[in-house]
């Protein structure tokens, strides 16, 4: 029976959380990205969370080979990918088994029944078929013979191999979801036209399957209602959807143009940071020099060379890579060169959880070097503000002549969000400490009185030839010095120089409350989760909870101490075993800090946080 769309009661929702899950080869990342982009074009606020295995092609149908993409769309502000699902699209038994826990009771599952064969059920360790027993009693299950219907949709195209047919079934699922949420298929069809420019047959195949899914959903009797999520209210401007890693790369592009310097990236591929290299290497037209080095050490070393030669130099990595870069980073601190090190954090120690998120490299960033070697440490907190903090990292490095470590994490690096595009013109100025030819009484260690940044004389500048290195230097001349007092002076100067960055960073502000019963403290990539949970608490009547979320870690904002005394209790929430909390304990003795930690390679959930906060307030 055909049901006219106009006859269906459309359910208006503020936000919806959808997760697409399937085998690694099922194209779930592409499906999720397409849904995200289409929703952003529609005007929704969005937040995404791709979650995929570290194996490139894990054995088909296995529990550990499941790849998923979660998207949260809203007509109101959305700050996390959401924890509980409104809709789960499961392409095989293994993906159903590993993701069902997240679906809200009574909500919808779409499954490809063709994939629920004996072999796949065994691989997913199901003793009986969950579509036939009582496993899914609490949910609304939409059973679709997706593989067969895809084959049927393509029957008029001759000469298609089985693989091409089964590989396009994800578009059938996407078509169905588009219809359910009142989206159009146009954006995705345009995408096919671009992506498969050179293989027109695939444009045809994917378009046909997408439309077939859309039409199938429309004619399906048992989708009882359709959902609509209206556009969200956001600040006016031009927007685009951006991934955290792309935003990071673009922040550096903007900083290079703004500072008038050329951008040099020395890097070695490592998950989940590699996309920054992928992005920057594309932009040779802007004069970007992206150098894929032989290892992590050569990545940072080449960047140090480029910094000495006058470029805006950066290196990008993840946890284990930062460990390898430690010695060279100490050299950059000793030589007082501008350098940005990006660490897209992942689960550790060692290889750990390469594709999962964690905040466990904070101590490494702060202390992971020999000697007294302070670095500026800052952290981005959302996919789109990776742009702002990459820009800021470059600005601080150049203006203060010392390395900056920018911490992001797998969660915000791979997540995407709407970004109000900032033109280079509206960004703040970036100065640098270069000295011109023929400067009088010159020494490389003459410092800016305010920032203590030393002079930056680059090779090619007449009359300013000089040598620097890893040995301790005389505080005036810059020549090698082993003098006892001098080493103490220089150690204190390097520390003071980092501390004075406080004068150039904003004070921290609390959200939701400026004083009260509980202050929730977080840093970096957990902003979305913490903001959303505290906001929710506020909405349900807990008005005395504030949130203080830190982007500047070393140095901390000047007013940090004051702010911490305004609340009765403080809880520091981190995706590690308690690092920032211990740093705060060390800096603010006499203040009691409680902590909430999660170390599962996953972001915080909303209800999980709310439970914690409620218990603390009692």
């Amino acid at each position: 029976m055909i049901v006219e769309k106009s006859n269906i009661q459309s359910e208006a929702l503020e936000t919806v959380v959808i997760r697409f899950v399937g085998d690694s080869g099922d194209g779930m990342q592409l499906t999720g990205t397409q849904f995200t982009d289409t929703s952003a074009m529609f005007g929704n606020d969005i937040a995404t969370f791709p979650n995929y295995p570290s194996e490139i092609r894990a054995p088909q149908g296995s529990l550990f080979g499941v790849s998923g993409f979660q998207v949260h769309i809203g007509s109101v502000e959305v700050s996390t990918p959401g924890d509980n699902l409104d809709l789960l699209v499961a392409m095989n038994p293994a993906s159903l088994k590993t993701n069902l826990y997240a679906l809200k009771p009574g909500h919808t599952i779409i499954v490809d029944t063709d994939a629920f064969n004996r072999k796949n059920l065994e691989k997913a360790q199901y003793k009986s078929n969950p579509l036939e027993d009582d496993t899914l009693n609490n949910y609304r299950v939409v059973k679709v013979d997706m593989t067969s219907l895809t084959r049927e949709a393509l029957k008029d195209i001759e000469g298609l191999d089985n693989k091409t047919i089964t590989r396009s079934k994800n578009m059938f699922a996407l078509g169905m979801v588009y219809w359910m949420y009142g989206r159009t298929t146009e954006y995705t069809i345009d995408f096919f036209k671009k992506k498969f420019r050179k293989e027109p047959l695939l444009i045809d195949v994917n378009t046909k399957v997408l439309k077939a899914g859309y039409n199938f959903a429309e004619t399906l009797e048992f989708i009882p209602n359709a959902y609509s999520v209206s556009p969200a209210k956001m600040a006016s401007g031009t927007y685009r959807v951006i991934m955290g890693n792309t935003a990071t790369a673009w922040g550096f592009l903007a900083a290079a143009e703004k500072s008038g310097l050329e951008l040099f990236l020395g890097s070695y591929p490592i998950t989940p940071a590699t996309d920054i290299l992928h992005e920057l290497v594309k932009h040779k037209h802007f004069g970007v020099k992206a150098f894929q080095a032989e290892d992590e050490i050569a990545g940072i070393s080449s960047a140090i060379g480029a910094a000495f030669a006058g470029d805006l130099a950066i290196t990008t990595t993840s946890g284990p890579g930062l460990a390898l870069k430690g010695e060279a980073l100490g050299l950059a601190i000793m030589m007082e060169l501008p350098l940005v090190v990006v660490n897209v954090q992942r689960g550790g120690p060692s290889t750990g959880l390469p594709t999962k998120t964690e905040q466990s490299d904070l101590f490494q960033a702060l202390y992971g070097r020999n000697g007294e070697s302070p670095a500026i440490v800052i952290a981005a907190s959302t996919p789109s503000n990776c742009f702002d903090f990459a820009f800021q990292a470059a600005k601080l490095a150049l203006e203060h002549m010392t390395p900056v470590i920018l911490l992001t994490d797998g969660y915000i690096a791979n997540g995407s969000a709407p970004w109000r595009i900032q033109s280079v013109e509206e960004l703040p100025e970036i100065k640098n400490n270069k000295v011109k030819e023929g400067a009088d009484n010159w020494s490389p260690y003459i410092r800016n009185e305010k920032t203590l940044a030393r002079n930056w004389a680059i090779p090619g500048t007449i009359g300013l030839e000089h040598r620097i290195g890893g040995l301790e230097k005389d505080s005036i001349t810059g020549n090698v010095s082993q003098a006892p007092e001098n080493h103490e002076i220089m150690t204190k100067i390097r520390a003071e120089k980092v501390k004075r960055v406080q004068d150039d960073i904003p004070e921290i502000k609390t959200e939701f409350a400026t004083s009260g019963d509980l202050l929730v403290v977080g840093w970096g990539g957990t902003y979305g989760s913490l903001h959303s949970a505290v906001k929710q608490m506020n909405l349900v009547g807990y008005k005395n909870i504030g949130l203080a979320h830190f982007n500047y870690i070393n140095p901390l904002p000047k007013n940090t101490g004051d702010l911490l005394t305004k609340f009765k209790k403080i809880v520091v929430c981190e995706l590690n075993n308690g690092q920032f909390v211990n740093m705060l304990r060390m800096n603010f003795t006499g203040i009691e800090f409680l902590q909430y930690n999660k170390i599962q390679g996953l972001p915080f959930g909303n209800s999980e946080l709310m439970e914690v906060f409620k218990k603390l307030i009692k």
Binding site: M41, A235, S236, G237, T238, Y239, R240, V241, W250, L253, A254, E257, E262, F264, G266, H283, K284, H285, F286, G287, K289, F291, A293, E294, D295, I297, A298, S301, S302, I304, G305, A306, A307, F308, A309, G310, D311, A313, E327, A328, L331, M335, R420, I421, Q422, S423, V424, P459, G460, T461, I462, G463, E465, H466, R467, I468, G469, G470, N479, V480
Partner: protein, 337 residues
């Protein structure tokens, strides 16, 4: 750019104000002075010269030359120098390194810089020992050599630096005795003019921990008979009486005497350093008698900077982006009122 300099420098222009602190009698002094004498002959401005070093006795080198310089960390000088050169290809970039710095801790960077052929110059001070840490065996120490870390004799077979370099794709490799300052200077000048990574291995004596390590081939009284100094386009002749030469026999290099067994100068191999195929160069670097010195290989190839510049030119010509904003506002964007 490296343009000719009108007011010619002397070696004094390249002496820094720092006191040189190597052990008395060290060959490092010879190399330093050879460098200071070679620099005015290169036609390069001193502000365009950068010396980069790692760690070790040899790595103090940049402090003593009045140009730009960086004394960095153990083994990483080739990677740091690569960054300097890629950031500003108009600079003349030099790496001073030792056998431990280049081939032990820095082995990875050493082979990759040679593979890429970035236009920089590496001076390898090979004294077959660790000097700065006071006398442990290095990757070029001989088997059986007694050192502080091999009191019963070294059991680790050594690298032959030339062989390693050619295996890694070196386009320019020269070997020179540490007691021949004029030849060192000339080789440094040749390395400077060569486009691509040039590697100069200096057979350098360590008076304290490995004294006389090359004396059986480099001492004045034996040098002419034990070493062959190769020059491109010239026959491979050596010996006090210039009567010894190299011929190819059964795929091996063989020493013959001119005037014996009907051998004339016409039979002697002609050295072709510019040949792309490194087979003969490999045979020469492996030769023990006579030990081959001079520029063994000098094959002209595109540098990494040239390859990069070519790609960049094409990308620029085809790009629709002139400034960053063009990129930011490109593709799928939408307006919120």
């Amino acid at each position: 750019m490296e343009t000719a300099v009108e007011n010619k420098y002397t070696y004094k222009d390249f002496e820094s104000d720092q006191e040189v602190r190597w052990c008395p009698g060290c060959d490092d002094y010879v190399i330093l002075r050879s460098m200071q004498k070679a620099l005015p002959e290169m036609g390069v401005k001193k502000e365009d010269v950068v010396f980069v070093s790692g760690i070790g006795c040899s790595s103090r080198f940049p402090y003593y030359i009045d140009t730009y310089g960086m004394h960095t960390i153990h083994g990483r000088a080739p990677a740091i120098a690569s960054g300097v050169k890629l950031a500003n290809p108009s600079l003349s970039v030099w790496v001073a390194t030792g056998d431990g710095d280049a081939m032990a801790i820095g082995g990875n960077h050493f082979i990759h810089v040679l593979r890429r052929n970035i236009d920089l110059n590496i001076i390898l001070f090979n004294n077959e020992i660790y000097g700065l840490t006071k006398g442990q065996f290095s990757p070029t120490s001989m088997v059986g050599q007694k050192t502080k870390s091999s009191p019963y004799g070294n059991t680790q077979p050594p690298f032959n630096p030339g062989e390693l370099a050619l295996g890694a794709g070196a386009r320019f490799y020269g070997r020179i005795s540490g007691n021949s300052p004029k030849d060192i200077s000339q080789m440094l000048i040749d390395a400077h003019h060569f486009k691509g990574t040039s590697l100069i291995e200096v057979l350098q004596n360590c008076v304290i921990f490995n004294d006389g390590c090359y004396s059986n081939v480099t001492n004045k009284d034996v040098k002419e008979d034990k070493l062959i100094f190769l020059e491109h386009g010239k026959p491979m002749i050596f010996g006090k009486n210039r009567d010894k030469g190299l011929v190819l026999s059964n795929l091996k290099l063989e020493v013959v005497t001119i005037g014996e067994n009907g051998i004339t100068e016409d039979n002697i191999l002609i050295h072709d350093a510019k040949e792309k195929d490194p087979t003969m160069h490999q045979m020469l670097v492996r030769l023990e008698y006579p030990l081959a010195t001079g520029i063994i290989r000098s094959y002209n190839d595109l540098t990494l900077e040239e390859r990069e510049a070519e790609v960049t030119k094409q990308v620029k010509a085809n790009s629709k982006f002139k400034k960053i904003d063009d990129l930011f506002f490109s593709g799928e964007t939408y307006k919120v009122e």
